[in-house]
């Protein structure tokens, strides 16, 4: 045990005596209207425009899925970093990662490029329980569960005490996972009379999350959001949501899986406690990791299984305008063989059906586990009830449990991992990837097209879905659709202005065009990531447009169109990871849909690929000198390098996905 381990033990303690009381008129420049009781001088006038304010929007890079020591699975993995440490890291400061003992295990990490925005999304489940477990004096402190909980925190911080990869998970992990996997979850029996202890402690964690976000929100330069994760896994189906608030007007307590074991209950709590119940409060819920939701993420039903009405569909689309399409536990866009034969759907797949299932390469996953199929189902629903419940824009995120917001760099991931001490050294990282199927890659980023870097501007952009996802790099991607998009728009110095004037941006909807029939035309422009300091970025390979529609028989269809690039060749040597060939620094085109049928509702999204590079696992296994052709001589610690999950994915193409543009054959 070290000092640091003690700090971790103490870290969830948070005295109410010291919590900053934010009362009275809210002085955040981004805040909404002032309360009636406030006098004029108490309230701040709307802030000046930011210096980089741009009516055509700037791209801001960030992410909205980061865990800190307030998440049970972070602290049980030895992570001690607070939300404040996370925000510092996101702005470019370095951070120490567990294990912290012995001395030889100590490591720190730092972003190569700071972020423009971030939010801590700690698991809201058992916020209170875990604090009760660390504060002597509470009756629950001495419970068996708390003793095991504290013990695991100690173990996870010391490399000498860590269990070997492959040994059974600590019981305390299993206890928590099981709680989150039952359909009617209950609290741990350590919360005192009427759960008072746990509820009181929950509010302290939530207040500290808010206070950290307030302290680090730096208008025009770095934006933070109060947020948490709702962590439901009924029957092992991952139907997690991140809940992101617009500003500091938020409900008194988070709504977790315990209070609201169905997503519909979460939304209705967010509605009553925020949207319609608390003036100035605004919120959105972002589903993620649908890839192991057992097909439940995009089920078009209400909580009781009844079909959605128009109102249900509209409500759902309003509260969930975005979906996380890529993160460290795999890609959720699509999977080959699951209602698609798109060969680019084999990217960072996470080979299991539900969160508790063992990895099973090639396993059939229910179609509604994937975003593209969800979008298609949305069209079918729109056809049936007159509103689309699944009108999702796309974000990417890391889901790091190291508090390392934005740590998606392919090369860095092989050194740092994302889950504290559990994946801290190569053999553990490899085990996590291949044998346990716990995570698979460094995750992605969200890039928002907003007028300026402020809470309102970014939140508004997210609500109108003018945002795109990347698999971790930073290509620039713009996408507009309109009826009169000039075919030479790409050649003009004012191309974006022209596209903006003649169409709707990504996330928007085209209504039916009255008068002469013609196809919608899409302006799509992508520029390569120039790369972090000292490291060249990878050129682009091509741009595609993915179209989904409902045919005249009412069946959803999809097709992928190559629209720009794709005729230069590039390769990567999987032994040296050296790249060769050429690609494009920039691609742009105006693409009219050649198969447009005015009566068929449709969505279109742009996807751009970078040239191929080595996956992190290839870099790592090369470095370790593993030769899978000579399997008998591969050290046992590194045999996972030769597992199918790693062997089949030596090379990746980093990519970006624009939010879709929808076409509705109805008037607006």
């Amino acid at each position: 045990m070290t000092i640091r381990s003690f700090v971790a033990t103490a870290s969830p303690f948070l005295a109410f005596a010291f919590s900053v009381a934010l009362i009275g008129c809210d002085d955040s420049p981004d805040s909404g209207s002032c309360p009636d009781s406030a006098s004029a001088e108490e309230c701040v006038v709307p802030p000046d425009a930011c210096p980089d304010r741009n009516p055509l929007r700037n791209p801001y890079v960030g992410e909205l899925h980061v865990h800190t020591a307030y998440s049970f699975d972070s602290i049980l993995a030895g992570v001690t970093a607070s939300p404040r440490d996370m925000y510092r890291f996101a702005q470019g400061e370095s951070l120490a990662l567990p294990p912290f003992a012995p001395g030889s295990a100590q490591r720190t990490t730092q972003l190569r490029r700071p972020l423009d925005f971030a939010a801590a999304t700690d698991h809201a489940e058992f916020f209170g329980e875990f604090r009760v477990c660390t504060i002597p004096g509470y009756d629950g402190f001495d419970s068996d569960f708390c003793q095991r909980y504290r013990e695991q925190i100690e173990v996870a911080q010391d490399a000498d005490l860590l269990r070997e990869p492959g040994s059974p998970l600590p019981q305390v992990f299993i206890d928590i996972a099981l709680k989150l996997a039952v359909p009617a979850p209950t609290r741990f029996p350590l919360c005192g009379t009427d759960n008072e202890d746990c509820i009181a402690e929950t509010s302290m964690v939530w207040e500290d999350e808010q206070a950290a976000a307030e302290e680090f929100n730096d208008r025009c330069a770095f934006t933070t959001f109060a947020a948490y994760e709702w962590t439901g896994n009924p029957g092992g189906a991952n139907i997690h949501r991140n809940v992101i608030f617009r500003n500091d007007t938020v409900p008194a307590l988070p709504t977790s899986y315990i209070e609201a074991p169905k997503p519909q209950q979460l939304w209705s709590a967010l509605d009553s406690e925020c949207l319609s119940g608390l003036p100035g409060c605004d919120v959105l819920s972002i589903p993620h990791s649908s890839n192991f939701s057992q097909g439940l993420m995009f089920e078009p039903t209400n909580a009781d299984g009844s079909p959605l009405s128009k109102e249900d569909a509209e409500f759902r689309a309003a509260i969930e305008p975005l979906v996380e399409i890529h993160q460290h536990k795999g890609n959720s866009e699509c999977k080959v063989g699951v209602l698609t034969n798109d060969e680019d759907c084999g990217f960072e797949t996470y080979e299991k059906v539900g969160i508790l299932d063992p990895p099973d390469p090639g396993v059939f996953v229910p179609p509604l586990s994937f975003v593209r199929n969800g979008l298609k189902e949305g069209l079918v629903q729109d056809e049936a009830v007159g509103a689309n419940p699944f009108e999702f824009g796309f974000v990417g995120a890391s889901d790091t449990h190291n508090a390392t917001a934005g740590a998606t760099h392919e090369g860095d991931y092989r050194n740092t991992g994302h889950i504290g001490a559990l994946d801290w050294e190569p053999r553990r990282l490899l085990y996590f990837l291949a044998a346990s199927g716990m995570e698979s890659n460094g995750g992605g980023l969200a890039i928002v097209w907003a007028e300026e870097n402020s809470r309102d501007a970014i939140f508004d952009a997210m609500k109108r879905r003018e945002v795109y996802a990347t698999s971790g790099t930073r290509p620039t991607l713009r996408f507009f659709g309109g009826w009169n998009m000039p075919s030479d728009a790409c050649d003009s110095p004012d191309s974006v202005e022209i596209a903006d004037q003649n169409g709707v941006p990504m996330g928007g909807t085209l209504a039916v065009r009255l008068g002469e029939p013609s196809a919608p035309r899409f302006f799509v422009s992508a520029q390569q990531d120039p790369g972090p300091p000292g490291e060249p970025g990878t050129p682009l390979e091509r741009i595609q447009i993915v179209k989904g529609w409902v045919d005249s028989d009412g069946n959803a269809q999809e097709k992928v169109f190559d629209v720009a690039g794709g005729d230069r060749t590039a390769d990567v040597d999987i032994n040296t990871c050296e790249t060769s060939g050429s690609g494009y620094a920039s691609l742009c085109t105006v693409w009219p849909d050649p198969e447009f049928v005015p009566a068929q509702r449709a969505f279109y999204y742009a996807r751009t690929f970078e040239n191929p590079v080595c996956r992190w696992s290839t870099m790592l296994c090369n470095e370790l000198g593993v030769d899978c052709g000579d399997i008998d001589n591969v050290p046992e610690d590194f045999v996972e390098c030769c597992s199918p999950i790693i062997e089949d994915q030596k090379v990746i193409k980093e990519r970006a996905w624009s939010s879709p543009i929808w076409y509705r054959p109805e008037t607006l």
């Binding site: 700090v7 103490a10 900053v20 210096p51 020591a69 423009d116 504290r150 500290d208 302290e215 120039p530």
Partner: protein, 307 residues
Amino acid sequence: MLHFALLGLALFVGARWFSPSDETERARDARIVVSQSQVAALVSQYEAMSAIPATDAVRAELIEGFVEEEILYREAHKWGLTSNNQAIDLRLRQKMAFVSDDELSDEELERQAKALGLDSDDPVIRNMLAHNMRLLLSRRGEQDPTDEEVEAYYASQRSRFERPPRLTGWHVFFSEDLRQSSANAAARVARLRLNTEVLRPEKAVELGDVSPLGDRFTGQLVRQLASRFGEKFAQVAESLPEGQWSDPVETPFGVHLLLVEERTPPQAPPLAEIRVRVVAAYKSSERQERLATAMKELRARYEVVVE
């Protein structure tokens, strides 16, 4: 992390919030003896780590540091930080289990460990207690600052809260996709022309190709330019004198000539905009000061003898 732990400590100490005022106890503990062997150990540790021989000044500093830790360790006992500290108990159980062959209960392990004095010479426990004592001293009597205090603090610390420079300007772009290897030569020609001919930037950009990222940038942070155009472009923009065209700058997109029209100086925002951050910084600085004052007072109460 520190902040986090600080907050926790208040609860941790909880009901044992008493001030050690027992005169006899103070008298007994008021002398700290530093033996020559301890000094030698400190010096050799320092020399091993720094690979430099310790000067007299360094030696004195090392002794002072040792004394400070010892004071904190002793004060932690007086403040009751040792009792019911589950982190210490766990450490003791682990140590005792290591040296004992018997299967003992947790309570028995702790009791025997204390009887053997395993707690008093354990560097980890000593560090932990000293650390916790620092947290406690820095937090004692803390109150939310008044408006006047926050304002005064901000006035004295404005430079810390300054916002980084923002850049507004143009770039003439020569596309590598269009011109391949001749992009650089074209940029040099254009640069020469800009030497001799005064062109408004709107006209100058027409010497080059259409830039897919636009030919003008407004109010950008250096980091924003780096994210879209690359590090090299951003660095040139950061250091380029205003109103002067740069030499050709290569990026993955091609070659650029940059002009920075305006560079806003670093500026501290109005307090109202960043009050929350200022209060957090104020509290942290107050804590450091409180700790320094408390340490000074404590130090004065101890007699130090170097044998």
